[in-house]
């Protein structure tokens, strides 16, 4: 009787051991690799990384940029880019345009600010930044940036006119009717003044 019980106990224990052993060694279906894997991140960036380091590509058609710009901006962008004399600023403006057409406003802003690190008094870069903030509906920022552009835009009537247009639109959006009217008056003034 005792023998029988002992044998039963032993066999049960062995069975439990075997079960536990195999359960201990079993793998789960999902697990996280403990080491970071940046391969996905890197490859996803590679597409935008191809056009690094702004290149003066004379083969690039200005019209191709125009087609993708928000209506109302096309004439402004063309005249602004045409008037900009610095190749560095021009390169950043073109870069910003590229990002804008891709719908990536944050990168457009980053590109323009990078340009301002190098040419902090370039009124076209400030103007373009104001325009971008206007699109982002950051009205107060757009006004300040347009004013900043005007501070360096002496003698460039078309650019000043554009800046005042931005200010007028932003003030309208903010409900500042008086301010918007004054800005529109300035637009008119720069429309009639010769450069």
């Amino acid at each position: 009787m005792i023998k029988t019980n002992l044998i039963k106990l032993l066999s049960t224990s062995i069975l439990i051991f075997i079960n536990l052993f195999f359960s201990a060694c079993s793998t789960t279906s999902e697990r996280n690799v403990p080491v970071e894997d940046r391969s996905a991140t890197i490859s996803s960036q590679q597409d935008t990384g191809n056009e690094t380091n702004l290149v003066t590509n004379t083969e690039k058609e200005p019209e191709s940029i125009q087609e993708n710009i928000v209506p109302g901006d096309s004439r402004r962008q063309e005249s602004i880019i045409a008037q900009s004399t610095s190749p560095v600023a021009l390169a950043f403006l073109e870069d910003a345009d590229k990002y804008t057409t891709e719908g990536d406003s944050d990168r457009a802003v980053a590109s323009l600010e990078r340009g301002l690190d190098i040419e902090p008094k370039n009124p076209w870069l400030w103007n373009r930044l104001a325009s971008e903030r206007l699109k982002q509906k950051m009205w107060a920022k757009a006004i300040t940036l347009a004013k900043k552009s005007n501070a360096f835009a002496s003698g460039h009537n078309q650019l000043q006119k554009d800046n005042w247009q931005i200010i007028a639109q932003a003030r309208t959006a903010l409900g500042d009717k008086v301010g918007a009217r004054k800005a529109k008056e300035m637009v008119e003034r720069f429309s009639t003044e010769k450069t």
């Binding site: 403990p34 970071e36 894997d37 991140t41 107060a140 002496s154």
Partner: protein
């Protein structure tokens, strides 16, 4: 009872007794067997439970493991563009700071080669916030100290601009002080894996976590020696030891190690185990911080990423596995070299290297960087400000553990120039003023005028010290640095004040709360009567300033200071007009930032972007600005400050940097010459310098003799752009001679800006008329120009022509 019956009973008794004796012996042996069996079962169950627990530990900790990664802090990247002012030698220094190797011919990223008028290099891949800059082969050509062309040699394209990867300037460490650079398995050099297998675990790809032969060998050795002398540990076991267990050398730990190694191999692939090993293994000590993983070790010993190391360098790192301290190449180079060569020989024996290759690697000398390029001691004052600004948005734990990548505004080239200038100038001033070495202290901030980015921050003369950060925390009276705010307040009332408005430089006596009289004096102890506003500021007349400020009203002056960006509480006492206002150099910089940028307040910032450890953008700190001072007034005060630099109290600038004019600024000196200040700017950079003593004794220096001289030393290195005066709407320039407006063609007049609506009438006589008459009367044929600084021959011709002298 008969004898027969008695005999039978006895026999029965004997028989029963013998039976009883047999079953007592039988009972004892059964009990032992039962006990042993029980013990065996219990042991089995306990053992099983223990293994189950270890298994849980292995899987949960290994899978759930997130290494605490320090945050990495980068300086601003150098932008190379056509026309950039940088020489070939300056660019070489930048490459050295980025741990690029100067080579005869380019083979891989992180190498450069200097030629006569150009530099060629292969850049490294780098993930910026906005994009990945791929590695490129570039040639830069220089002409007259500027970049003339940039060529992408890969496709022969001319570039307008190229961005180098930024320098790593520091880290913010986890609390357990482990330093780690994670290296993904697909970026691990193959040679490293081969070396580890060859040296540490030859059967790595064949065993199941433990190498039985190796264990047996070690056991025999340990038994015969009476202790743990030899290890037969596999890489897996080493990983388990580093990852989960302590370093104690006991049998218990060894048993755990063996079981866990088997379990680890059961659950994870060889690649995963190798990858974890490469990122976990302890390879050195940097002060209080452990250097963990080969990625970190590559930076620590060679200041280069792991994938740029040569085979001999990788072999050296593998040598450290057996004893990072014992084989430390900085402390024990001979030992390290010997072990490295042993490893290279071993690899040759096992067929990983040919004889020729091995010999070539063995012949290379040991070349370790003196110290890690990212030593956080390098720019402690700047990193201090970065940390303070980060803590507004991030928890300390996140900063320490999440492997954030922080991109800052520091310009390391400028920082090095400023630090060197501080050392040199302080030593010279101490000598001149007969002060003992180390008496004077300095603090400085350099920013970008239009964007408010902090390019340089110096917290004291000891550049490597973590002590008191004077740039942020030395709150000192600013003296005459306050005066531009007073004069700006006046200029804002364009109908009443302009540059020519006469103000009274006459004695002032005001009763204070305690009944005593406050009677300020000019620096020269003289009064100057009625003086033009521009002269009072240029010469920094105290009495004129106080009279003007009191007339305007102290509250207006305070309002202007707030508009300029001073957030601190400002007491409205008359002494405020002479700078009885305590600010830090950083706060002063904020104030002058608004003046320099034409009335646009730009918050000073050190951080541009923050990415997570995978390079995903987390936050961007974009350009923020607001116009707080109207543009016409801001323009005029800026112009007046340029006069301070050309002919006022800061005229040393004109003397020492004539080619850089116009520049602008203001000197500041406090009572008993305790503080020497200068704040000045060009078109692109603003610099604020403070000199003084920590014990608040007299520095024996005025703003002009102390801080200004250091500022000039610095700017001679930084080469700021001269001020441009782009006239805003509503401003008109008029010629002024002897503080009166004169006609436009007046030869000796100087142009000043005025609000158009309040342009002063012409009231002065041009000297031309007087001279013309004199020339005609005397029949003068030629005029020789004797002005000291007039070296321009064409001026003589102009003058002769002007006076119709032929």
């Amino acid at each position: 009872m008969t004898r027969k019956k008695k005999r039978t009973q006895t026999k029965k008794k004997i028989s029963r007794k013998s039976k009883a004796g047999k079953s007592g012996t039988g009972r004892t042996s059964s009990s032992y067997k039962y006990l042993i069996l029980q013990l065996f079962v219990i042991s089995l169950l306990c053992g099983t439970a223990y293994v189950v627990w270890l298994n849980h530990r292995v899987t949960s900790e290994f899978e759930g493991k997130r290494w605490s990664l320090p945050a990495r802090v980068y300086a601003r990247p150098l932008e190379l563009y056509i026309g950039a002012t940088i020489t070939k030698n300056e660019l070489s220094k930048v490459f050295n700071s980025l741990a690029y190797q100067h080579v005869a011919s380019l083979h891989g990223p992180g190498q450069y080669h200097k030629q006569a008028n150009s530099i060629r290099f292969i850049s490294r891949n780098f993930d910026f916030w906005d994009r990945r800059e791929q590695s490129k082969r570039i040639q830069i050509e220089f002409l007259a100290g500027k970049i003339q062309s940039i060529t992408d040699e890969t496709n022969a394209k001319q570039l307008v601009i190229f961005r180098l990867e930024p320098q790593l300037i520091g880290k913010i460490y986890p609390e357990h002080n482990e330093d780690r650079v994670l290296v993904p398995y697909d970026e691990v050099p193959v040679f490293l894996v081969e070396a580890l297998v060859a040296v540490e675990d030859r059967h790595f790809y064949r065993h199941f976590g433990i190498d039985l032969k190796g264990i047996l060998r070690a056991m025999i050795s340990n038994i015969t020696s009476g202790g743990l002398r030899q290890g037969g540990s596999t890489l897996t076991q080493q990983l388990v030891k580093n990852y989960f267990l302590t370093r104690e050398r006991t049998f218990r730990r060894k048993i755990n190690e063996v079981i866990m190694a088997v379990l680890l191999e059961r659950h994870y692939s060889k690649a995963e185990i190798m990858s974890a090993y490469i990122n976990e293994i302890y390879l050195g000590q940097h002060g209080a911080r452990g250097v963990h993983g080969f990625g970190t070790a590559a930076e620590f010993y060679f200041s280069r990423p792991l994938n740029e190391l040569k085979n001999d360098e990788i072999a050296l790192l593998v040598a450290l596995v057996r004893g990072a301290s014992y084989y430390n190449p900085r402390k024990h180079p001979d030992r390290a070299l010997k072990r490295r060569n042993l490893i290279l020989n071993l690899m040759q024996q096992q067929g990983y290297l040919s004889t020729a290759e091995a010999n070539k690697e063995i012949a290379r000398p040991l070349k370790i960087s003196e110290k890690p390029s990212w030593s956080s001691a390098k720019y402690p004052a700047f990193l201090d400000l970065v940390r303070r600004q980060l803590q507004k948005n991030y928890q300390t734990e996140d900063l320490r553990n999440e492997g954030l990548r922080i991109f800052t505004t520091l310009n390391t080239r400028y920082q090095d120039i400023v630090e060197q200038s501080v050392q040199k100038r302080l030593a010279s001033l101490e000598k001149r003023k007969q002060l003992s070495t180390g008496t004077l202290q300095a603090a400085g901030v350099i920013t970008s005028v239009e964007t408010g980015e902090v390019l340089v921050l110096v917290g004291g003369r000891n550049k490597n010290s973590n002590d008191f950060n004077r740039a942020l925390d030395a709150i000192r009276p600013i003296g005459s640095l306050v005066k531009p705010a007073v004069y700006l307040t006046a200029l804002m009332q364009a109908d009443k004040y302009n540059s020519l408005t006469l103000i009274e430089d006459k004695p002032v006596s005001l009763k204070q709360y305690d009944g005593s009289a406050w009677e300020p004096e000019n620096y020269d102890n003289k009064t100057h009567g009625n003086v033009a506003l521009h002269t009072a500021l240029s010469k920094s007349y105290n009495l004129a300033t106080v009279n003007l400020g009191l007339k305007l009203g102290l509250n207006k002056g305070v309002k202007t200071l707030h508009a300029l960006g001073i957030e601190a509480e400002i007491p409205e006492y008359p002494s405020l007009l002479l700078g009885s206002l305590n600010l830090s150099p950083l706060q002063v910089t904020q104030m002058y930032q608004t003046l320099a940028s034409g009335g646009f307040q730009v918050p000073l910032r050190t951080i541009k972007e923050v990415l997570d450890k995978d390079g995903k953008p987390l936050q961007r700190y974009g350009l923020e600005l607001k116009q707080t001072v109207e543009s016409k007034s801001a323009f005029m005060i800026r112009h007046l400050l340029s006069e301070v630099a050309s002919s006022g109290t800061a005229r040393s600038i004109a003397a020492r940097m004539p080619g850089s004019l116009p520049l602008a600024g203001k000197t500041g000196t406090t009572n008993e010459l305790r503080d020497s200040w200068f704040a000045g700017f060009g078109d692109d950079v603003l610099g604020v310098i403070w000199l003084g003593r920590d014990d608040n004794q007299s520095s024996r220096l005025t703003g002009a003799s102390g801080a200004l001289q250091l500022w000039i030393d610095i700017m001679q290195g930084l080469r700021p752009r001269p001020l441009s005066f782009i006239t805003p709407e509503g401003i008109e320039w008029a010629n002024i001679l002897h503080d009166q407006r004169v006609q436009d063609d007046c030869l000796h007049a100087v142009a000043y800006p005025f609000v158009q609506a309040y342009l002063p009438d012409i009231s002065g006589t041009c000297q031309n008329d007087v001279i013309q008459k004199f020339i005609q009367e005397k029949n003068i044929q030629d005029i020789k120009v004797e002005r000291k600084d007039d070296k321009n021959e064409s001026n003589k011709a102009t003058i002769n022509k002007h006076f119709n002298i032929h």
